[in-house]
Amino acid sequence: MLAIQISGILIPAAILLAVAALFALVIVVLSRKLSVEENEREKEVLSHLAGANCGACGYPGCSGFAKALCEGKAQLSDCSATPKEGKQEIGKILGVAADGEDTVAVVRCNGGSHCQSKYEYQGYGDCRTAELLAGGRKACPVGCIGLGTCTDVCPNYAIDVGEEGFAVVDREKCTSCGLCIRNCPKKLIDRIPRSARVYIACSNDCRGKDVKELCSSGCLGCTLCSKVCESGAITMKNNLPVFDYSKCTGCLKCVEKCPVHCIKEVKE
Protein backbone atom coordinates (compact mmCIF):
# COMPACT_ATOMS: atom_id res chain seq x y z
CA MET A 1 0.00 0.00 0.00
CA LEU A 2 2.72 2.37 1.02
CA ALA A 3 4.76 1.40 -2.00
CA ILE A 4 1.85 2.23 -4.31
CA GLN A 5 1.42 5.60 -2.68
CA ILE A 6 5.09 6.42 -2.94
CA SER A 7 5.30 5.35 -6.56
CA GLY A 8 2.17 7.42 -7.22
CA ILE A 9 4.12 10.46 -6.12
CA LEU A 10 7.52 9.48 -7.41
CA ILE A 11 6.55 8.65 -10.99
CA PRO A 12 4.85 11.98 -11.73
CA ALA A 13 7.64 13.83 -9.96
CA ALA A 14 10.25 11.93 -11.94
CA ILE A 15 8.49 12.62 -15.22
CA LEU A 16 8.16 16.30 -14.44
CA LEU A 17 11.78 16.45 -13.38
CA ALA A 18 12.84 14.69 -16.56
CA VAL A 19 10.89 17.16 -18.70
CA ALA A 20 12.37 20.08 -16.76
CA ALA A 21 15.89 18.65 -17.04
CA LEU A 22 15.40 18.16 -20.77
CA PHE A 23 14.35 21.75 -21.27
CA ALA A 24 17.16 22.97 -19.04
CA LEU A 25 19.63 20.99 -21.09
CA VAL A 26 18.25 22.39 -24.35
CA ILE A 27 18.43 25.92 -22.97
CA VAL A 28 21.99 25.48 -21.76
CA VAL A 29 23.13 23.98 -25.05
CA LEU A 30 21.37 26.63 -27.08
CA SER A 31 22.67 29.47 -24.94
CA ARG A 32 26.20 28.17 -25.49
CA LYS A 33 25.71 27.66 -29.21
CA LEU A 34 23.73 30.77 -29.92
CA SER A 35 25.48 33.13 -27.56
CA VAL A 36 25.73 36.54 -29.10
CA GLU A 37 28.72 38.65 -28.28
CA GLU A 38 27.32 41.58 -26.44
CA ASN A 39 29.00 44.89 -26.60
CA GLU A 40 30.77 45.42 -23.28
CA ARG A 41 30.26 49.16 -23.47
CA GLU A 42 26.56 48.75 -24.07
CA LYS A 43 26.31 46.45 -21.07
CA GLU A 44 28.09 48.92 -18.86
CA VAL A 45 25.98 51.83 -20.08
CA LEU A 46 22.87 49.76 -19.49
CA SER A 47 23.90 49.07 -15.90
CA HIS A 48 23.90 52.81 -15.17
CA LEU A 49 20.56 53.54 -16.83
CA ALA A 50 17.42 53.72 -14.74
CA GLY A 51 16.15 50.37 -16.01
CA ALA A 52 12.58 51.60 -16.02
CA ASN A 53 12.04 50.48 -19.64
CA CYS A 54 9.54 53.32 -19.91
CA GLY A 55 10.14 53.89 -23.61
CA ALA A 56 9.96 57.67 -23.28
CA CYS A 57 13.24 58.01 -25.19
CA GLY A 58 11.66 56.39 -28.24
CA TYR A 59 13.82 53.25 -28.15
CA PRO A 60 12.59 49.76 -27.25
CA GLY A 61 13.54 49.60 -23.59
CA CYS A 62 16.72 50.66 -21.83
CA SER A 63 18.83 48.15 -23.77
CA GLY A 64 17.77 49.74 -27.04
CA PHE A 65 18.61 53.17 -25.65
CA ALA A 66 22.02 51.97 -24.44
CA LYS A 67 22.77 50.67 -27.94
CA ALA A 68 21.71 53.95 -29.52
CA LEU A 69 23.87 55.86 -27.01
CA CYS A 70 26.93 53.81 -27.86
CA GLU A 71 26.34 54.34 -31.55
CA GLY A 72 25.98 58.05 -30.98
CA LYS A 73 22.43 58.11 -32.28
CA ALA A 74 20.82 59.20 -29.02
CA GLN A 75 21.48 61.95 -26.54
CA LEU A 76 21.77 61.30 -22.82
CA SER A 77 19.23 64.06 -22.27
CA ASP A 78 16.60 61.93 -24.05
CA CYS A 79 16.30 59.90 -20.84
CA SER A 80 14.53 61.62 -18.00
CA ALA A 81 14.40 58.63 -15.65
CA THR A 82 18.13 58.17 -15.05
CA PRO A 83 19.47 60.17 -12.10
CA LYS A 84 22.31 62.63 -12.55
CA GLU A 85 24.97 60.37 -11.01
CA GLY A 86 24.14 57.61 -13.48
CA LYS A 87 24.36 60.01 -16.37
CA GLN A 88 27.77 61.21 -15.23
CA GLU A 89 29.01 57.62 -15.11
CA ILE A 90 27.67 57.00 -18.60
CA GLY A 91 29.29 60.23 -19.73
CA LYS A 92 32.63 58.87 -18.52
CA ILE A 93 32.13 55.59 -20.40
CA LEU A 94 31.14 57.27 -23.62
CA GLY A 95 33.67 60.06 -23.27
CA VAL A 96 31.13 62.79 -23.78
CA ALA A 97 30.23 65.61 -21.48
CA ALA A 98 27.71 64.07 -19.12
CA ASP A 99 24.52 65.66 -20.21
CA GLY A 100 26.01 68.24 -17.90
CA GLU A 101 24.09 71.03 -19.54
CA ASP A 102 22.53 72.72 -16.57
CA THR A 103 18.97 73.79 -17.12
CA VAL A 104 16.76 76.46 -15.69
CA ALA A 105 12.99 76.91 -15.74
CA VAL A 106 11.30 79.66 -17.72
CA VAL A 107 7.66 80.65 -17.95
CA ARG A 108 6.31 80.56 -21.47
CA CYS A 109 3.91 83.47 -21.04
CA ASN A 110 4.32 87.19 -20.67
CA GLY A 111 0.65 88.08 -20.85
CA GLY A 112 -0.45 88.98 -17.36
CA SER A 113 -2.06 92.40 -17.43
CA HIS A 114 -1.57 92.57 -21.21
CA CYS A 115 -3.94 89.66 -21.59
CA GLN A 116 -7.67 90.23 -21.40
CA SER A 117 -9.78 88.60 -18.72
CA LYS A 118 -12.67 86.26 -19.31
CA TYR A 119 -14.20 87.03 -15.94
CA GLU A 120 -13.32 88.60 -12.61
CA TYR A 121 -12.08 86.02 -10.15
CA GLN A 122 -12.49 86.86 -6.51
CA GLY A 123 -11.84 84.81 -3.44
CA TYR A 124 -9.78 81.87 -2.37
CA GLY A 125 -7.98 79.62 -4.76
CA ASP A 126 -4.88 79.02 -6.78
CA CYS A 127 -4.27 78.40 -10.47
CA ARG A 128 -5.34 74.75 -10.23
CA THR A 129 -8.77 75.57 -8.81
CA ALA A 130 -9.20 78.53 -11.15
CA GLU A 131 -8.39 76.22 -14.08
CA LEU A 132 -11.44 74.13 -13.20
CA LEU A 133 -13.68 77.17 -13.64
CA ALA A 134 -13.88 77.51 -17.43
CA GLY A 135 -10.11 77.14 -17.79
CA GLY A 136 -9.03 80.10 -15.68
CA ARG A 137 -9.73 83.80 -15.78
CA LYS A 138 -7.52 84.69 -18.72
CA ALA A 139 -8.98 85.00 -22.20
CA CYS A 140 -5.93 83.22 -23.62
CA PRO A 141 -6.32 79.44 -23.23
CA VAL A 142 -2.57 79.11 -22.50
CA GLY A 143 -2.09 82.31 -20.53
CA CYS A 144 -0.54 82.46 -17.07
CA ILE A 145 -3.40 82.67 -14.56
CA GLY A 146 -1.12 84.42 -12.11
CA LEU A 147 -2.52 83.00 -8.91
CA GLY A 148 0.82 81.57 -7.89
CA THR A 149 0.56 77.78 -7.77
CA CYS A 150 4.17 77.68 -8.93
CA THR A 151 5.17 80.07 -6.13
CA ASP A 152 3.48 77.83 -3.59
CA VAL A 153 5.21 74.65 -4.71
CA CYS A 154 8.70 76.04 -5.32
CA PRO A 155 11.02 74.86 -2.53
CA ASN A 156 13.59 77.53 -3.32
CA TYR A 157 11.31 80.58 -3.54
CA ALA A 158 12.61 80.99 -7.06
CA ILE A 159 9.41 81.77 -8.91
CA ASP A 160 6.98 84.57 -8.20
CA VAL A 161 4.12 86.36 -9.90
CA GLY A 162 5.41 89.81 -10.72
CA GLU A 163 3.64 93.14 -10.90
CA GLU A 164 2.68 92.52 -14.49
CA GLY A 165 0.61 89.53 -13.49
CA PHE A 166 2.60 86.58 -14.85
CA ALA A 167 5.09 84.32 -13.12
CA VAL A 168 8.80 85.00 -13.45
CA VAL A 169 11.66 82.66 -12.53
CA ASP A 170 14.65 83.84 -10.52
CA ARG A 171 17.57 82.11 -12.25
CA GLU A 172 19.85 82.49 -9.27
CA LYS A 173 17.62 80.40 -7.05
CA CYS A 174 16.12 77.95 -9.58
CA THR A 175 17.52 74.43 -9.33
CA SER A 176 15.42 73.10 -12.20
CA CYS A 177 13.74 70.59 -9.90
CA GLY A 178 10.59 70.54 -12.03
CA LEU A 179 7.98 70.93 -9.29
CA CYS A 180 6.47 74.04 -10.89
CA ILE A 181 6.52 72.32 -14.29
CA ARG A 182 4.43 69.49 -12.93
CA ASN A 183 2.00 71.68 -11.02
CA CYS A 184 1.27 74.44 -13.52
CA PRO A 185 -2.25 73.66 -14.81
CA LYS A 186 -1.49 75.46 -18.06
CA LYS A 187 1.82 73.61 -18.59
CA LEU A 188 3.51 76.92 -19.26
CA ILE A 189 6.82 76.27 -17.52
CA ASP A 190 9.62 74.72 -19.48
CA ARG A 191 13.34 74.04 -19.09
CA ILE A 192 15.98 75.78 -21.19
CA PRO A 193 19.77 75.41 -20.99
CA ARG A 194 21.27 77.70 -18.39
CA SER A 195 23.59 79.09 -21.03
CA ALA A 196 20.72 80.19 -23.28
CA ARG A 197 20.49 83.92 -23.81
CA VAL A 198 16.93 84.21 -25.15
CA TYR A 199 13.63 82.35 -24.94
CA ILE A 200 10.12 82.72 -26.29
CA ALA A 201 7.70 83.77 -23.57
CA CYS A 202 4.43 82.79 -25.22
CA SER A 203 2.73 79.44 -25.78
CA ASN A 204 -0.25 80.45 -27.89
CA ASP A 205 0.02 78.69 -31.23
CA CYS A 206 -3.07 80.29 -32.78
CA ARG A 207 -2.89 82.59 -35.78
CA GLY A 208 -1.59 86.11 -35.18
CA LYS A 209 -4.98 87.76 -35.59
CA ASP A 210 -6.62 85.52 -32.99
CA VAL A 211 -3.75 86.02 -30.53
CA LYS A 212 -3.86 89.79 -30.96
CA GLU A 213 -7.53 89.88 -29.97
CA LEU A 214 -6.69 88.25 -26.64
CA CYS A 215 -3.30 89.57 -25.64
CA SER A 216 -1.17 92.54 -26.63
CA SER A 217 2.08 90.72 -25.91
CA GLY A 218 1.30 87.32 -27.42
CA CYS A 219 3.38 85.87 -30.26
CA LEU A 220 1.83 86.77 -33.60
CA GLY A 221 3.75 84.14 -35.50
CA CYS A 222 5.07 86.90 -37.78
CA THR A 223 8.37 84.98 -38.42
CA LEU A 224 10.39 88.22 -38.18
CA CYS A 225 12.67 86.63 -35.58
CA SER A 226 13.46 83.64 -37.77
CA LYS A 227 14.24 85.97 -40.67
CA VAL A 228 16.47 88.30 -38.70
CA CYS A 229 18.43 85.48 -37.10
CA GLU A 230 21.77 85.19 -38.90
CA SER A 231 22.80 81.85 -37.47
CA GLY A 232 19.57 80.08 -38.40
CA ALA A 233 18.84 79.16 -34.80
CA ILE A 234 15.14 80.03 -35.05
CA THR A 235 12.60 77.93 -36.90
CA MET A 236 8.86 78.45 -36.86
CA LYS A 237 6.62 75.66 -35.64
CA ASN A 238 2.87 76.04 -35.09
CA ASN A 239 3.06 79.83 -35.28
CA LEU A 240 5.71 79.93 -32.57
CA PRO A 241 9.49 80.27 -32.89
CA VAL A 242 11.61 77.32 -31.77
CA PHE A 243 15.17 77.99 -30.68
CA ASP A 244 18.11 75.76 -31.45
CA TYR A 245 20.40 76.88 -28.66
CA SER A 246 23.39 75.08 -30.13
CA LYS A 247 23.29 77.57 -33.02
CA CYS A 248 22.28 80.69 -31.10
CA THR A 249 25.09 83.24 -30.86
CA GLY A 250 23.29 85.47 -28.40
CA CYS A 251 23.24 88.51 -30.72
CA LEU A 252 19.79 89.49 -29.37
CA LYS A 253 18.60 90.70 -32.79
CA CYS A 254 15.42 88.67 -32.38
CA VAL A 255 14.72 90.39 -29.06
CA GLU A 256 15.05 93.83 -30.71
CA LYS A 257 13.01 92.88 -33.74
CA CYS A 258 10.03 91.20 -32.03
CA PRO A 259 7.09 93.59 -32.44
CA VAL A 260 5.30 92.40 -29.30
CA HIS A 261 8.45 91.84 -27.19
CA CYS A 262 7.58 88.27 -26.38
CA ILE A 263 11.13 87.03 -27.00
CA LYS A 264 12.88 87.71 -23.73
CA GLU A 265 16.52 88.23 -23.06
CA VAL A 266 17.77 86.22 -20.12
CA LYS A 267 19.29 88.66 -17.64
CA GLU A 268 22.32 87.37 -15.82
Partner: protein
Protein backbone atom coordinates in the same frame (compact mmCIF):
# COMPACT_ATOMS: atom_id res chain seq x y z
CA UNK B 1 -11.88 20.59 -43.31
CA UNK B 2 -14.92 22.08 -41.67
CA UNK B 3 -13.31 21.61 -38.27
CA UNK B 4 -10.26 23.64 -39.25
CA UNK B 5 -12.48 26.37 -40.63
CA UNK B 6 -14.38 26.42 -37.34
CA UNK B 7 -11.15 26.64 -35.34
CA UNK B 8 -9.92 29.56 -37.46
CA UNK B 9 -13.19 31.44 -37.14
CA UNK B 10 -13.46 30.61 -33.46
CA UNK B 11 -9.97 31.85 -32.67
CA UNK B 12 -10.37 35.07 -34.62
CA UNK B 13 -13.90 36.13 -33.76
CA UNK B 14 -16.29 33.84 -31.91
CA UNK B 15 -13.97 32.93 -29.03
CA UNK B 16 -11.79 36.02 -29.30
CA UNK B 17 -9.25 35.57 -26.52
CA UNK B 18 -9.40 39.10 -25.19
CA UNK B 19 -12.87 40.33 -25.91
CA UNK B 20 -14.91 37.17 -25.32
CA UNK B 21 -12.77 35.00 -23.04
CA UNK B 22 -11.01 37.86 -21.21
CA UNK B 23 -7.55 36.28 -21.33
CA UNK B 24 -4.43 38.41 -21.65
CA UNK B 25 -5.99 41.63 -20.42
CA UNK B 26 -2.69 42.91 -19.00
CA UNK B 27 -0.87 43.38 -22.32
CA UNK B 28 -4.21 44.31 -23.91
CA UNK B 29 -4.35 47.41 -21.69
CA UNK B 30 -0.63 47.89 -21.17
CA UNK B 31 0.71 47.80 -24.72
CA UNK B 32 -2.18 49.38 -26.63
CA UNK B 33 -1.16 53.02 -26.67
CA UNK B 34 0.21 52.97 -30.19
CA UNK B 35 -0.90 50.80 -33.10
CA UNK B 36 2.60 49.81 -34.18
CA UNK B 37 3.75 48.61 -30.76
CA UNK B 38 0.38 46.89 -30.36
CA UNK B 39 0.94 45.12 -33.66
CA UNK B 40 4.45 44.08 -32.56
CA UNK B 41 3.15 42.70 -29.28
CA UNK B 42 0.30 40.93 -31.10
CA UNK B 43 2.64 39.24 -33.55
CA UNK B 44 4.99 38.16 -30.73
CA UNK B 45 2.09 36.66 -28.79
CA UNK B 46 0.77 34.95 -31.92
CA UNK B 47 4.18 33.41 -32.56
CA UNK B 48 4.56 32.13 -28.99
CA UNK B 49 0.96 30.92 -28.81
CA UNK B 50 1.27 28.88 -31.99
CA UNK B 51 4.54 27.30 -30.84
CA UNK B 52 3.33 26.75 -27.28
CA UNK B 53 0.13 25.02 -28.37
CA UNK B 54 2.09 22.56 -30.51
CA UNK B 55 4.63 21.76 -27.79
CA UNK B 56 2.03 21.62 -25.03
CA UNK B 57 -0.14 19.33 -27.16
CA UNK B 58 2.77 16.98 -27.77
CA UNK B 59 3.67 16.86 -24.07
CA UNK B 60 0.04 16.34 -23.11
CA UNK B 61 -0.88 13.76 -25.70
CA UNK B 62 2.30 11.66 -25.70
CA UNK B 63 3.52 12.05 -22.12
CA UNK B 64 0.76 12.99 -19.71
CA UNK B 65 -2.12 10.99 -21.17
CA UNK B 66 -0.27 7.62 -21.47
CA UNK B 67 0.97 7.94 -17.86
CA UNK B 68 -2.46 9.12 -16.68
CA UNK B 69 -0.97 12.29 -15.31
CA UNK B 70 -3.35 14.79 -16.92
CA UNK B 71 -3.77 16.51 -13.55
CA UNK B 72 -0.18 17.70 -13.96
CA UNK B 73 -1.01 19.66 -17.10
CA UNK B 74 -0.96 23.12 -15.48
CA UNK B 75 2.53 22.83 -14.05
CA UNK B 76 3.79 20.97 -17.11
CA UNK B 77 2.45 23.66 -19.46
CA UNK B 78 3.97 26.45 -17.37
CA UNK B 79 7.29 24.64 -17.66
CA UNK B 80 6.93 24.24 -21.40
CA UNK B 81 5.92 27.83 -22.03
CA UNK B 82 8.60 29.40 -19.83
CA UNK B 83 11.32 27.30 -21.44
CA UNK B 84 9.94 27.92 -24.89
CA UNK B 85 9.97 31.68 -24.49
CA UNK B 86 13.59 31.48 -23.29
CA UNK B 87 14.56 29.43 -26.33
CA UNK B 88 12.61 31.62 -28.73
CA UNK B 89 14.29 34.69 -27.28
CA UNK B 90 17.74 33.21 -27.76
CA UNK B 91 16.99 32.06 -31.30
CA UNK B 92 15.56 35.44 -32.31
CA UNK B 93 18.48 37.28 -30.72
CA UNK B 94 20.91 35.18 -32.72
CA UNK B 95 19.19 35.08 -36.07
CA UNK B 96 17.16 38.27 -36.26
CA UNK B 97 18.55 41.10 -34.14
CA UNK B 98 16.14 43.51 -35.83
CA UNK B 99 13.10 41.57 -34.69
CA UNK B 100 14.69 41.21 -31.24
CA UNK B 101 15.11 44.97 -31.06
CA UNK B 102 11.54 45.59 -32.18
CA UNK B 103 10.04 43.23 -29.62
CA UNK B 104 12.28 44.48 -26.83
CA UNK B 105 11.01 43.70 -23.36
CA UNK B 106 7.71 42.30 -24.61
CA UNK B 107 9.16 38.94 -25.50
CA UNK B 108 10.11 37.80 -21.97
CA UNK B 109 6.88 39.32 -20.69
CA UNK B 110 4.88 36.88 -22.80
CA UNK B 111 5.97 34.10 -20.42
CA UNK B 112 3.46 35.42 -17.93
CA UNK B 113 0.70 36.10 -20.44
CA UNK B 114 -2.26 33.96 -19.45
CA UNK B 115 -3.47 33.83 -23.07
CA UNK B 116 -0.57 31.49 -23.87
CA UNK B 117 -1.30 29.16 -20.98
CA UNK B 118 -4.99 29.49 -21.77
CA UNK B 119 -4.69 28.23 -25.33
CA UNK B 120 -2.59 25.28 -24.20
CA UNK B 121 -5.18 24.35 -21.59
CA UNK B 122 -8.12 24.77 -23.96
CA UNK B 123 -6.50 22.52 -26.54
CA UNK B 124 -6.72 19.60 -24.12
CA UNK B 125 -10.51 19.69 -24.11
CA UNK B 126 -13.24 19.89 -26.71
CA UNK B 127 -13.51 23.48 -27.87
CA UNK B 128 -16.94 25.04 -28.07
CA UNK B 129 -17.27 27.23 -31.14
CA UNK B 130 -20.76 28.68 -31.36
CA UNK B 131 -23.06 25.68 -31.35
CA UNK B 132 -20.40 23.24 -32.54
CA UNK B 133 -17.81 21.33 -30.54
CA UNK B 134 -14.41 20.48 -31.91
CA UNK B 135 -11.70 18.21 -30.54
CA UNK B 136 -8.30 19.22 -31.80
CA UNK B 137 -5.46 17.12 -33.17
CA UNK B 138 -1.88 18.35 -33.53
CA UNK B 139 -2.59 20.51 -36.57
CA UNK B 140 -5.79 21.76 -34.95
CA UNK B 141 -3.83 22.75 -31.85
CA UNK B 142 -1.39 24.69 -34.02
CA UNK B 143 -4.26 26.39 -35.88
CA UNK B 144 -6.05 27.22 -32.64
CA UNK B 145 -2.88 28.74 -31.17
CA UNK B 146 -2.04 30.76 -34.26
CA UNK B 147 -5.52 32.08 -34.91
CA UNK B 148 -6.29 32.78 -31.27
CA UNK B 149 -3.08 34.82 -31.31
CA UNK B 150 -4.27 36.62 -34.44
CA UNK B 151 -7.57 37.26 -32.67
CA UNK B 152 -5.57 38.78 -29.80
CA UNK B 153 -3.66 40.91 -32.33
CA UNK B 154 -6.92 42.03 -33.92
CA UNK B 155 -8.36 43.10 -30.57
CA UNK B 156 -5.22 44.89 -29.32
CA UNK B 157 -4.70 46.75 -32.61
CA UNK B 158 -8.36 47.81 -32.68
CA UNK B 159 -8.12 49.11 -29.11
CA UNK B 160 -4.84 50.89 -29.90
CA UNK B 161 -6.60 52.65 -32.80
CA UNK B 162 -9.40 53.73 -30.49
CA UNK B 163 -6.92 54.94 -27.87
CA UNK B 164 -4.96 56.97 -30.42
CA UNK B 165 -8.17 58.81 -31.27
CA UNK B 166 -9.09 59.14 -27.59
CA UNK B 167 -5.78 60.85 -26.85
CA UNK B 168 -6.97 63.80 -28.88
CA UNK B 169 -10.56 63.77 -27.64
CA UNK B 170 -11.85 66.05 -24.90
CA UNK B 171 -12.48 63.40 -22.24
CA UNK B 172 -13.92 64.50 -18.86
CA UNK B 173 -11.26 64.43 -16.18
CA UNK B 174 -12.79 61.56 -14.21
CA UNK B 175 -12.73 59.33 -17.30
CA UNK B 176 -9.25 60.16 -18.57
CA UNK B 177 -6.77 57.33 -18.96
CA UNK B 178 -7.77 53.82 -18.00
CA UNK B 179 -11.50 54.41 -17.27
CA UNK B 180 -12.27 55.51 -20.81
CA UNK B 181 -10.01 52.74 -22.17
CA UNK B 182 -11.91 50.12 -20.19
CA UNK B 183 -15.20 51.54 -21.41
CA UNK B 184 -14.00 51.38 -25.01
CA UNK B 185 -12.87 47.79 -24.41
CA UNK B 186 -16.26 46.92 -22.90
CA UNK B 187 -18.12 48.25 -25.92
CA UNK B 188 -15.78 46.30 -28.21
CA UNK B 189 -16.43 43.17 -26.13
CA UNK B 190 -20.18 43.64 -26.51
CA UNK B 191 -19.76 43.95 -30.26
CA UNK B 192 -17.67 40.78 -30.38
CA UNK B 193 -20.12 38.83 -28.28
CA UNK B 194 -22.54 39.10 -31.21
CA UNK B 195 -20.31 36.64 -33.12
CA UNK B 196 -21.27 33.90 -30.67
CA UNK B 197 -24.64 33.62 -32.42
CA UNK B 198 -22.99 32.46 -35.63
CA UNK B 199 -24.31 28.96 -36.35
CA UNK B 200 -22.97 26.28 -38.67
Amino acid sequence: MKEYFLIILGGLLINNFVLVKFYGICPFLGVSKKTDTALGMGMAVTFVMALASVFAYVIYEYLLVPFELTYLKTIAFILVIASLVQIVEMVIKRFSPTLYQALGVYLPLITTNCAVLGVAMLNTEAIKIGAAEVTVNLFGAFLNGAFSGLGFTLAIVLLAGVREKLARADVPKAFQGFPITLMAAAIMAMAFSAFSSLAF
